[in-house]
């Protein structure tokens, strides 16, 4: 039984069909890649799966439940989390606060608690601080903990976004081009972390343009073109698929 399964999804705006009858499955603890040219519908698929864009038909199932009609935040609370193509850091907050904010279901987010259970909040903050430190150690963000997130480099922002997801303790993470605009050293580091997370049992779905890097780490791959899934299977099989070669500029990969 798949953890995330997208079934016969169609979506579009205006007269334009961004997704056309798309099926996609990510199993428990699996590491899956998603490739395609610009405008193939990859990011739109992410947005439909996570609830940012409504599907005009089709269903989304997660952990055995139909989540098609759920709001974004409800899906996240069930363990389905994503990053964005362009990093969406909280630019005027420090790296530390970015991570602290990400922790789910905090007592201190309730206004009444600010008055009535201040002790509880203090304990909670201490517990979360420890967790944030773990995450920062894991992602090597210790040195920049007090920096404003807006001042980080592109690669560090991607790490930070990954860190925020980790604070959520998700079951499945969807990474939208995590390596784009990141220097090679950091890519290496990011790759390792993603693999390590996957080994801890978190399912991962990655959109990536860097096919070489992707083929190296994922055992299974989907390819999309013009809103449809045109191939899926092992990286070698997908990359050899004529339809995929055709979509990628007449076979030059």
């Amino acid at each position: 039984m798949a953890l995330l399964s997208v079934e016969k999804i169609t979506a579009g705006f205006g007269g334009f069909r961004a997704l056309d009858d798309v099926d996609l499955k990510v199993g428990q603890g699996e590491l899956v890649g998603l490739i395609g040219t610009n405008g193939a519908g990859k990011s739109t698929l992410f947005s439909v799966a996570t609830g940012y864009i409504p599907a005009s038909s089709g269903r989304v199932h997660f952990a055995g439940q139909d989540i098609t009609g759920l709001a974004v935040h409800h899906r996240v609370r069930r363990g389905l989390a994503r990053t964005f193509q362009v990093p969406r850091e909280f630019s005027n907050l420090t790296v530390f606060d970015n991570l602290m904010t990400a922790a789910p279901e905090q007592e201190g987010e309730k206004l009444s608690a600010l008055v009535f259970s201040r002790g509880k909040i203090r304990q909670e903050e201490e517990r979360l601080t420890a967790k944030v430190c773990d995450v920062m150690d894991f992602l090597n963000l210790r040195g920049v903990e007090g920096e404003l997130a807006g001042k980080l480099s592109g690669g560090q922002k991607k790490l930070l976004e990954l860190g925020r997801l980790l604070m959520l303790e998700p079951k499945c993470i969807m990474l939208d081009e995590p390596f784009a605009g990141v220097n090679p050293v950091l890519i290496e580091q990011l790759c390792e972390r993603v693999i390590e997370l996957n080994q801890r049992g978190i399912a991962v779905l990655i959109i990536e343009h860097n096919l070489a890097e992707l083929a190296r780490i994922v055992p299974r791959l989907y390819a999309m073109d013009r809103g449809r899934v045109i191939a899926h299977g092992s990286p070698d099989a997908v990359l050899a698929d004529p339809a995929v070669r055709e979509a990628y500029m007449g076979g030059v990969i």
Binding site: T50, Y52, A71, V72, H73, H74, V76, R77, A81, R82, T83, F84, R88, E89, F90, S91, N92, L93, T94, F96, D97, N98, M100, T101, A102, P104, Q106, E107, G108, E109, K110, L111, L114, I121, E124, E125, L148, R164, M167, L168
Partner: protein, 297 residues
């Protein structure tokens, strides 16, 4: 002399409360509220009407705060569904709707005739000349309290989330939090503070009428925020002092320089505000007294 200074400070402090509420909404949550004066009006009329019915002033002030905050709830629900761009026009429309209601529902508000004879704060406690001083002291206490509260809120986990919403709402949703919930609360908090300011003003002026609650008041508060700097409480305080100080201080300019007619002076005053606003935004985006926003821990 002292009496006049007290009056100016009272007026500064009332604006300061309004600015504090708006700072919470815009400066820290990113809500573009252009109907702040509507909450101010609701507070004024609630407290005044209750007090005229014989309700003790502390209770009527509490009611004013509560009702202003509650009135923000449905507004938030509607406006937040529509998304950021629309909040400005929806809130502006709301404040005009409130004013029209105050003008029209004569059975309740006496319409354009206004409400005279509102019980004054501390009336009968001391000799009449001293009540203003007591009101000033009360306002200072209230302001310090409210700003302490705002400070406390923005340093809390709740504050972290609203600032995150200001910076990137989409990402907050990606963290499993419902921004609408936080935004509604921030809107209500700010509205409640404005309502309290309204109640205090009513019991200070002892006369209120719908003409006092025009959108210009909202714009003045925005100007104060932008002049001082949005992202910090220090900027908010300084911006308000500067604006009200200028509006009032410009009376003296004419006494001193002369040669400018009253009509021209009024035009000049607005002109200076307009040009100052442009220049601050162009050349000092963080405001005259603001530093770039940063959370300290």
């Amino acid at each position: 002399m002292e009496g006049y200074l007290i009056a100016i400070f009272i007026s500064i402090l009332i604006y300061l409360l309004l600015a504090g509420g708006l700072a919470l909404q815009y400066g820290f949550t990113g809500l573009v509220n252009f109907g702040h004066v509507g909450f101010f009006a609701i507070g004024s009329y609630t407290s005044a009407l209750l007090a005229l019915k014989g309700v003790p002033i502390p209770i009527s002030l509490a009611a004013a705060t509560a009702l202003a905050a509650l009135s923000a709830y449905p507004l938030g629900m509607i406006a937040l569904r529509l998304g950021g761009d629309y909040l400005a026009i929806v809130t502006l429309g709301f404040s005009e709707a409130v004013r029209m209601m105050l003008q029209t529902e004569e059975w309740l508000t006496r319409g354009m005739h206004g409400l005279p004879g509102i019980p004054r704060l501390f009336a009968g406690w001391v000799e009449p000349q001293k009540t203003d001083l007591l009101i000033l002291i009360l306002l200072v206490v209230v302001c310090v309290g409210v700003f302490f509260l705002i400070h406390h809120i923005i340093k809390s986990p709740f504050g972290r989330v609203i600032e995150a919403i200001r910076d990137n709402e989409v990402a907050v949703r990606a963290l499993g939090k419902n921004p609408a919930q936080f935004k509604t609360r921030s809107l209500m908090l700010g509205a409640g503070i404005a309502g309290l300011a309204g109640g205090l003003q009513a019991h200070y002026l002892t006369f209120i009428s719908p003409e006092q609650y025009v959108p210009l008041i909202t714009f003045y508060i925005w100007i104060a925020l932008v002049l001082g700097g949005v992202g910090s409480l220090r900027g908010v305080v300084m911006g308000t002092v500067l604006l009200v100080g200028f509006l009032e201080g410009s009376r003296f300019i004419r006494d001193v320089i002369g040669g400018v007619s009253e009509v021209q002076m009024a035009s000049l005053r607005i002109w200076v505000i307009g040009v100052a606003l442009i220049c601050v935004i162009l050349y000092r985006p963080q405001g005259l007294f603001g530093s770039s926003p940063k959370r300290s821990r």
